[in-house]
Point group: C2
Chain length 204, copies 2
């Protein structure tokens, strides 16, 4: 389902040029943002020239869009594997091991609020979809009103916001915030006192 997009997709297999370029773009956009990264840098990391890169992606903007779409496909595949669940605590645990991914996401989601940024629509839609998914999951698990008195829609927006904000703090100073623990804490507090399975493991 997430596997076909264009007609034939030249070189999607591992080792394919297209994917190598997208990998390089991910690293470079993470390191410098979209505006701060040149096609030449991406190309060099992928092992070809800037003009060679433009054979696969006709413009810098197209490269960014392709990168974001690929991310969605990977996520969709992963979600399918674990049966459609959206376990935020698990997402956070994984993210701590992948600072690169976290950094592209953090940088691009903020950079894209600027005028005419090519990822504007992407992130607006993504936030909307994400809020809906998390809200639905909360509603299914805890009902239409959480014990804390908070609505599932509010809890969803707050959880997503906190995760993003914590990522920014964490990227600036990885030792300063314990993301998995804090997200766990917030979930516990939102979903009400001593509810939703095993609460905290450690005592403090």
């Amino acid at each position: 389902m997430a596997a076909e997009r264009g007609r034939r997709r030249p070189g999607y297999a591992p080792g394919g040029r297209r994917d190598a370029i997208l990998d390089a773009a991910l690293d470079e956009f993470a390191a410098g943002g979209y505006n701060g990264t040149s096609l030449a840098k991406v190309a060099e990391r992928a092992g070809l020239t800037q003009q060679g890169l433009l054979h696969y992606f006709p413009s810098k903007q197209a490269l960014l869009v392709a990168l974001l779409n690929r991310r969605d496909e990977v996520d969709a595949d992963a979600a399918a594997e674990e049966d459609g669940r959206v376990d935020l605590a698990e997402v956070v645990r994984r993210n701590v091991e992948r600072p690169g991914i976290v950094q592209v996401y953090t940088v691009l989601s903020a950079e894209s609020v600027t005028e005419g940024h090519p990822a504007q629509e992407y992130f607006r839609d993504r936030f909307e979809r994400l809020r809906g998914e998390v809200e639905g999951r909360i509603r299914k698990e805890h009902g239409d009103r959480l014990p804390s008195g908070v609505g599932p829609d509010e809890a969803a927006a707050l959880l997503i916001a906190a995760m993003d904000g914590l990522q920014t703090q964490w990227l600036h100073d990885p030792g300063a915030v314990d993301m998995p623990r804090l997200v766990r804490t917030l979930m516990d507090v939102l979903t009400g006192p001593a509810r939703g399975g095993k609460a905290r493991d450690a005592e403090d």
Copy 2:
């Protein structure tokens, strides 16, 4: 206290060139980020040439630093007026009226996690200071352990994170999230059931 910095500060008064340039830089950095903004654009908005601008600020980096420092002074003055309190709910209420300010902050705080960004140190320090201030305020008002069982340090990191994350969502889609309401909700939930003065006003 926050009023002197250099020796004499040429033209700090309203109408002063220096301040006009910083105002322009604020708007332009908000619209395009640091990397996405040229000195020429800032200069044009301020009503002089790029080279004229460089007479006041020797480099683009110096301009950014000056901008961030001025923001701190303004904040410090404002905080002094209301007697050192850090009322987050009030901050959010005000921010909704100033999308420009919110946008520079959001864009720059994320952009500055990139390699070699000139505002890295500024934001790392700012987050650290902010966490400390909010934690201290919570501790003074609610004690060393909140009724919810959450520590003041955790609550501080979460509140700041949620505010920043909500700003990003809000900038992408202003109608999608009610920032003041959501922050209020989070504060209530963190500080425990029906504590901390008047809880929610509306019923729903």
